[in-house]
């Protein structure tokens, strides 16, 4: 079966020519699609999803497409990254390493396992017939939503994707790859872009899908989440904890290097990016291995990484002002005599604020990270409590003996993914993003 002629195809083909890395203005000139075009696309992907395809057929198509996307030289990927870099101001090396990391868990065996878990007889599609999932993507991280789209396809859903106005390239190119490797599987994906204020078009997406998956800021998500047919991935934050196990002390240089990479990837704009690192201090904070020591190591690692994965040459004014604000608060608290240290890269490249007594603090992104101390489990919980329900992931170092209780605390606070430092941006395909309701629904365990 060949890919149907559709508005999807025309929207995709309307993206400016390959290699045109400065085509943002041309993107912006595209008219928003008519609500009817979205309805028609939903009908087409529903029809495509009705075609009897074995789950392993979809998995095989995804394996082939993802294998291409793991290659830095793959044309569609190369074009997408160049254009995202030009539009967002991110460096190509940074985006390449970020995408490599994001895609690393999508191995053949992981896709097979996912197909077995949600594409089998118990899966929703098997029991309820073809269904269509609309996705409203966020623009902060290229490829954000990949876990859910892949799971949806493996779960035999048709997908209509509204890309973010700030990032219109990724899904068009990925859908194109899927069509190239398997037209029937590719026909289950439609990609559009329209501005947030085109409410009738958004309403069409909701009305013509069985489920809407929304990413984005809390205002959007709050309004979407009132509908039972909506799964909302709202604003979430991540952090890290370094324990002070005397029996198995972590190699702080290695941990700092790994966490610096977790902070740096995607310019710290995703929900898996650590904002705050807590370092266990059994006693005096000035002791080697304490928060201040680790903050200095993390700063040095961020500086080294900035040479290899350059920060944006220019930041949008608002973002720059937000990072600057963090620095100014730290600077003046220190001048005012408070126990605060901070380290800063040139321009606004990276920032580490060591505030030993702080509770979990949200960072404005762009490699801005807080480091604090904690003394015991109760203290750790207290530091994180203000962020309860908004935490997505946490890195824990390898001092295993300390971790059972810490993991329990993190789970109680809503953390869905615990990883080793350096692995935060590469969650497995079974990651229970946002609590797992989406995966449960696909697997048929949630109605």
């Amino acid at each position: 079966m060949s890919a149907p002629r559709s508005r999807t195809a025309s929207a995709a083909s309307a993206v400016p020519g390959r290699g045109d890395a400065t085509a943002g203005a041309a993107d912006a000139a595209l008219p928003p699609p008519d609500p009817r075009a979205v309805a028609e696309a939903a009908a087409r992907v529903r029809a495509a999803a009705s075609a009897p395809l074995a789950p392993h057929r979809v998995a095989d198509a995804l394996k082939a497409a993802l294998a291409l996307w793991r290659e830095r030289g793959f044309e569609r990927r190369r074009v997408a990254i160049a254009r995202i870099a030009a539009r967002a101001g991110f460096s190509v090396p940074l985006l390449n390493e970020s995408i490599d990391t994001l895609l690393s868990p999508f191995t053949d065996s992981a896709l097979d396992s996912l197909a077995a878990a949600i594409g089998g007889e118990g899966g929703r599609a098997r029991r309820q017939g073809a269904f269509v999932i609309g996705f409203v993507m966020a623009g902060n991280v290229a490829g954000a939503g990949m876990h859910e789209v892949v799971a949806a396809l493996i779960g035999s859903a048709g997908t209509v994707i509204k890309s973010a106005s700030a990032e219109r390239v990724w899904w068009v190119e990925f859908a194109g790859t899927l069509r190239d490797v398997d037209a029937e599987v590719g026909a289950r994906v439609a990609v559009f872009n329209w501005p947030r204020d085109a409410v009738e078009t958004t309403a069409s997406l909701r009305a013509n899908g069985d489920l809407l998956v929304a990413y984005g800021d809390d205002t959007t998500v709050a309004s979407e989440a009132r509908d039972r047919r909506v799964i909302a991935f709202g604003s979430r934050l991540s952090g890290a904890a370094i324990t002070g196990s005397a029996s198995a002390p972590p190699d702080l240089e290695v941990v700092a290097e790994a966490l610096a990479r977790d902070v740096t990837l995607f310019e710290q704009l995703g929900c898996l990016s650590p904002h705050h690192v807590f370092v266990q201090e059994p006693g005096d904070g000035s002791a080697a291995g304490g928060a201040r020591d680790f903050a200095a190591r993390l700063a040095a690692a961020l500086e080294r990484l900035a040479a290899r994965l350059p920060p944006p040459a220019d930041l949008p004014l608002n973002d720059a002002a937000s990072v600057r604000r963090v620095r100014e608060v730290a600077r003046w608290r220190r001048i005012g005599g408070e126990s605060v240290d901070f380290f800063e890269g040139r321009r606004l490249g990276w920032t580490v604020v060591c505030d030993p007594a702080a509770g979990f603090t949200a960072s404005p992104g762009f490699r801005t990270v807080f480091v604090s101390a904690f003394h015991d489990h109760a203290d750790f919980r207290a530091r994180l409590a203000p962020a309860a329900g908004r935490l997505e992931a946490f890195a824990l170092d390898d001092s295993v003996s300390e971790h059972a209780r810490l993991r329990e605390i993190l789970r109680e606070l809503g953390v869905t993914y615990v990883a080793a430092p350096g692995q935060m941006q590469a969650p497995p395909l079974t990651w229970r993003h946002g609590g797992g309701a989406f995966l449960d629904l696909l697997a048929g365990t949630l109605q």
Binding site: A321, E338, G359
Partner: protein
């Protein structure tokens, strides 16, 4: 050598008789005074490699973030309680809504007479260019009710200086007494007395809501006027400046040119006001309006990445050098984004909004939501 008293006298003299060519020499004099007397500022300057001797021009003077007033003591050490100025000092606190730490900024003003001179001179030029004395309605607490508020102090000075003896303060710490305020306005309207309304944009929005609920308009006499300040701060649904002007015209019969928005902050002793045909006859009508700085307040815009001035007409973080801040720190970088045009010693500023107030990105949490987390420290 210029003595401390001579510097204060020169600043006061400049406010009364501004001479643009004298601004920069006086600014450098003020900087050296502040470098010598404000300990935290001196340490900050030294951390940047700036000294009293190395700074040779206005744009080399290190500016502190407005946030600095929350964390450090930024006032001149006047030699202790025996100093007569120290005993007469006023201390103002910021509203604390943006600190995120439950901490309020503090601006100690050792020379209230300079603050008053600055406030009154520019207020007169921008809100009372017709030099009329008017009936006054304050919908923000006056200084006797909220002495720590710089806006309250300004409103009290305004009533003293430009009032005709009839006034009402229809606000306290609990909020605006809208019924009393509207009764006052109805009476003034009946008597045909022009009224000047002074308060925050949030307070005037409360008045408009009350009029809306009553489906009422009050016909105030011509020459009535409104000075509001604060913009979106404190409003659930923010009224744009153009909406305030439109509502003032439709609900209170106040000519939109007589609706003057003030841009000021606790950390600065000088303010900027909307330029309209009322106070600046040749100004073009546009939104957002241009705000005019007084001659003793210089504005610039800086790139937050480099801390260097941006090209003329380009947006950046607003930075001011306020001679009236002589007793604390004059060079202050705000948290606001704007565009500055220089016009023969009178800077024109378009305030575009608060930096960092953009929508949350994707999974990244809006920082404001974490005020509570910060406050838990």
């Amino acid at each position: 050598m210029t003595t401390r008293d001579q510097i204060y006298e020169q600043v006061l003299s400049f406010i009364h008789n501004p001479e643009p060519a004298c601004f920069e020499p006086l600014a450098l004099l003020v900087f050296r005074h502040q470098f010598a007397t404000v300990d935290a500022y001196r340490r900050y300057c030294l951390s940047l490699g700036a000294t009293a001797e190395s700074v040779r021009s206005l744009d080399q003077i290190p500016a502190v973030s407005a946030l600095a007033f929350k964390y450090a003591d930024l006032y001149a050490d006047l030699g202790g309680a025996n100093d007569s100025r120290a005993s007469g000092a006023l201390t103002f606190l910021t509203s604390g809504t943006t600190a995120g730490r439950g901490r309020r900024g503090q601006h100690r003003v050792p020379h209230p007479e300079i603050y008053r001179a600055s406030a009154i001179a520019h207020l007169g030029a921008m809100v009372f260019p017709d030099q009329r004395r008017l009936t006054m309605l304050a919908i923000h607490p006056t200084a006797d009710r909220m002495p720590e508020s710089s806006l309250s102090r300004m409103i009290s000075w305004c009533i003293e200086e430009f009032g005709n003896g009839t006034s009402l303060c229809a606000a306290d710490r609990g909020g605006v007494a809208t019924h009393a305020a509207l009764d006052f306005l109805r009476d003034a309207g009946t008597r045909g007395e022009p009224v000047c309304i002074l308060g925050t944009t949030a307070a005037i929005a409360a008045l408009f809501r009350a009029l809306d609920e009553a489906n009422e308009s009050i016909r105030l006499a011509p020459a009535s006027r409104l000075m509001d300040t604060g913009g979106a701060k404190g409003q659930v649904v923010a009224l744009e400046a153009s909406q305030v002007a439109a509502l003032a015209e439709s609900r209170l019969s106040i000519d939109s040119d007589h609706v003057i928005n003030e841009y000021g902050m606790t950390e600065l002793c000088s303010q900027l006001y909307d330029a309209t045909h009322f106070n600046t006859p040749r100004i073009a009508r546009s939104w957002p309006r241009v705000k005019l700085a007084p001659p003793w307040l210089r504005a610039s815009t800086i790139d937050p990445v480099t801390d260097r001035p941006v090209s003329a007409g380009q947006p950046g973080l607003l930075r001011f050098f306020d001679l009236a801040n002589v007793g604390s720190v004059s060079a202050v970088t705000t948290e606001d984004i704007g565009i500055v045009e220089h016009d023969h010693g009178r800077d024109r500023v378009r305030v575009l909004g608060r930096a960092g107030a953009a929508e949350a990105r994707g999974c990244a949490l809006a920082l404001a939501e974490f005020a509570a987390a910060d406050g838990a420290r």
